[in-house]
Amino acid sequence: MPAPIKIILLAEDSPQDVEMTITALAAHHLVNEVVVVNDGQEALDFLYRKGKFENRPPGLPVVILLDLKMPKVDGIEVLRVIKSDPALKTIPVVMLTSSNEEHDILRSYLHGTNAYVVKPVGFRQFVEAVKQLGVFWTVHNEPPPV
C-alpha cells in the first residue's frame, strides 16, 4: 500500500496571502502537498468531496490552515462544522489570521481550534511561522489513527 499523501488544506481568500504562504512552504519543500481553497464554502466542499472537488481522490488533509475572515462561509463556521463532525473533528485546525482581537481568539478556541496564529507583519517572521506550522503538523505531529 502506498504511503498516504500528506495534504495541507489552506483556506484563504487573499491571493497575496496565498502566494506568501505557498512561497514560505516552498522554501521548506512542503509545497506539493498544499491544496488552496478561496472561501469557507470551498473548504467544506473539499472536505466533503462536493462541488468542484466531487472527483478528488479520497483522503483528508493532515492539517487545515484556516483564515478567519472569508467570503460566504467564514473561518469560524468552517471550524464549527469540522469540529462537530466525528469524521473530521480529529484533523488539526490552525487559525491563521490577521486578527489579534481577543474576541476572535476566544471564539476560535471555544469552537475547538488546535492553534491560533496571528500572521506577523514581517515576511521573515511570516516564513518562520509558516515553516514551523508546516513542519510541526506534517513532520513532527503524529496524526490521529484513521
Partner: protein, 449 residues
C-alpha cells in the same frame, strides 16, 4: 427628511383600519386544538399602557382603551383621522412646540426605522366640551416593519406625566412640593434622559468596536503584503540589485513596519477607553522603582541622576498607572539623552488643597510651549523621528488614563532646557499623603496638607 415612496396600500387613510382583517373564528385555532391564537385586537385594546398605532402617513390606525381614556376620546372619533387633526394645537398656546416636536420624532422614525424616545413634551388635550387641558407626555415612537422591510406602522406609546411636571413646576416656583414627590418627578425626568443617553452610548460603543476590528484585520492585511512582497523581492533579486535598489527596498520595509506599530498603538489606544478599571491602592514609590528597572538598559553608558521624593499612595488601576509612569519616565530618559549629565526629578505637591499633583521633570530637549496644545494628541509629535524615535501615542495614553481617573495632565517646557509633566489626581484618589517635602518642591500654596 428624504422623501421615500410608501407602499401604496398604506397611502390612503383607512376609514376603519383593521376592519375585515380579523381572522374568521375557525382560524383562531392553528394546527391542534391546544394552541389557541389569542384575539390580538382585543388584547391590544385592553393593554394597560397608552398606545396609538399610526400609518406612515400619520393616520390613526388604532388606539388602546387606556389611550382613549387618557385623551378623553372615543375610538370611533379618532380612527382613520390624521393624528394632528384628531389632536389639534391648543389655540390659547400658540407657542406650544408639542406638535412640531412630535412631528419631527415621527419623521425621524419613518426615515431611519430607529425608535425615538422623546423628551417630556407639553401637548394639551381638548376636552369633549372644547376647552383645552394642560398635559405633559413622555413618548416613545417605534417602527413596525412590514414584509417588504418598509415601515408599515408606528407604535406611539405615551405616559401621562402631567402630575409630575406640575409638581416640579410648583416647586421650581418656590411652592415646595412634598420632598418625596418632588424627588419622584426629578427621577422620572432624569430616567428618560439617561435612557436616551445610554442608547446613544451603546450604539457609539458598537461602532467603535467595529472600527477597531476593521483596523485590526483589514488594515493590517495589505500592510503585511507590502512588507512580505518587498522582502520576497529582496530575496528574488539577491545579488542582482545595487545599493540604491537595496535602499528602496529597505525603506519600503521599514515604513511598513512602522505603520504596523502605529496600527497596534492606535488599537491599544482605542481599547484603553473601553478597558474596565480595577481601582486598588497603588504604591507609587514601588511603581516608580519598578518602572526605573525597565529603563536601566536605556540609561546604560549615560550619566542619569534621579532625584525622587517619597510619593503618596493613590487609588487607581495598577496596569494603567504603570503605563502612565512608564511613559513619563521613559520620555524623561529619552529626551534627556543628549545631556552629558541628565537629571530627572520626580516630586509631588498639593494643589488647591484638593488635588495631589505628581510631576516628572527632566533637563532634556524640552519643547516650545507654543506647541504644547498638540502634546497630548494621538500621533502628535513635537520632535522629528530622526531626532527622537516614537509614534506619538504615549502621552495620549497618559492623558486618557489620568482623565479616566478624574485627574488631568499638563506640561511646562523650554526648548533645550527640559520639560516638566504634571498629573493631578482628585484627593479621594489619594490614600496616603506624601511626607513633608523640601521647600523646593512646594507648589504656590506652599502646604502639603
Amino acid at each position: 427628511m428624504n422623501a421615500r415612496p410608501l407602499p401604496s396600500s398604506l397611502e390612503a387613510p383607512e376609514s376603519e383600519p383593521g376592519a375585515g382583517r380579523s381572522a374568521p373564528a375557525g382560524a383562531a385555532y392553528r394546527g391542534s386544538a391546544k394552541s389557541v391564537e389569542p384575539d390580538y385586537r382585543a388584547v391590544f385594546e385592553s393593554l394597560p399602557g397608552l398606545y396609538l398605532i399610526l400609518t406612515p402617513k400619520l393616520f390613526i390606525a388604532d388606539a388602546s382603551d387606556a389611550y382613549l381614556g387618557a385623551t378623553m376620546t372615543r375610538r370611533g372619533e379618532i380612527l382613520g383621522r390624521h393624528i394632528f387633526e384628531a389632536f389639534p394645537k391648543n389655540p390659547s398656546d400658540p407657542d406650544g412646540t408639542g406638535i412640531a416636536n412630535l412631528g419631527r420624532s415621527l419623521g425621524s422614525v419613518l426615515e431611519t426605522g430607529v425608535a425615538d424616545t422623546m423628551a417630556v413634551q407639553q401637548y394639551d388635550i381638548r376636552r369633549p366640551d372644547g376647552a383645552f387641558e394642560e398635559r405633559h407626555w413622555s413618548a416613545v415612537n417605534t417602527a413596525v416593519r412590514g414584509g417588504d422591510g418598509q415601515v408599515a406602522f408606528i407604535v406611539h406609546r405615551v405616559e401621562d406625566v402631567t402630575e409630575f411636571v406640575l409638581q416640579k413646576n410648583r416647586s421650581d416656583r418656590g411652592t415646595p412640593a412634598p420632598g418625596a414627590e418632588k424627588m419622584a418627578s426629578e427621577i422620572f425626568l432624569r430616567a428618560q434622559q439617561i435612557q436616551d443617553a445610554n442608547r446613544r452610548l451603546q450604539s457609539a460603543n458598537e461602532e467603535l468596536e467595529a472600527f477597531s476590528y476593521s483596523i485590526s484585520h483589514d488594515l493590517r492585511a495589505p500592510l503585511r503584503h507590502i512588507a512580505g512582497f518587498a522582502d520576497m523581492l529582496r530575496d528574488h533579486l539577491g545579488d542582482g540589485t545595487d545599493s540604491t535598489g537595496r535602499h528602496y527596498l529597505e525603506t519600503i520595509f521599514r515604513s511598513a513596519e512602522r505603520m504596523g506599530r502605529l496600527i497596534d498603538e492606535l488599537l491599544a489606544f482605542s481599547r484603553l477607553g473601553r478597558a474596565s478599571m480595577e481601582l486598588v491602592p497603588v504604591n507609587l514609590d514601588q511603581l516608580v522603582a519598578e518602572v526605573r528597572l525597565t529603563l536601566l538598559a536605556e540609561c546604560r553608558g549615560r550619566s542619569v541622576t534621579w532625584n525622587i521624593v517619597p510619593l503618596p499612595e493613590v487609588r487607581g488601576d495598577l496596569t494603567m498607572m504603570r503605563q502612565v509612569f512608564a511613559n513619563l519616565l521613559g520620555n524623561a530618559v529619552k529626551y534627556s539623552r543628549r545631556q552629558p549629565e541628565a537629571v530627572i526629578e520626580i516630586g509631588t505637591f498639593r494643589n488647591q488643597a484638593t488635588d495631589v499633583v505628581i510631576f516628572v521633570r527632566d533637563n532634556g530637549a524640552g519643547f516650545d510651549m507654543r506647541h504644547a496644545g498638540k502634546l497630548f494628541g494621538v500621533f502628535q509629535r513635537l520632535h522629528r523621528e530622526s531626532e527622537f524615535e516614537g509614534t506619538g501615542v504615549g502621552l495620549a495614553h497618559v492623558r486618557r488614563i489620568v482623565n479616566r481617573h478624574g485627574g488631568r495632565v499638563w506640561a511646562e517646557a523650554y526648548p533645550d532646557r527640559g520639560a516638566t509633566f504634571y498629573l493631578s489626581l482628585p484627593s479621594p484618589a489619594v490614600l496616603r499623603p506624601a511626607p513633608r517635602l523640601p521647600a523646593a518642591y512646594y507648589g504656590a500654596e506652599g502646604e502639603t496638607r
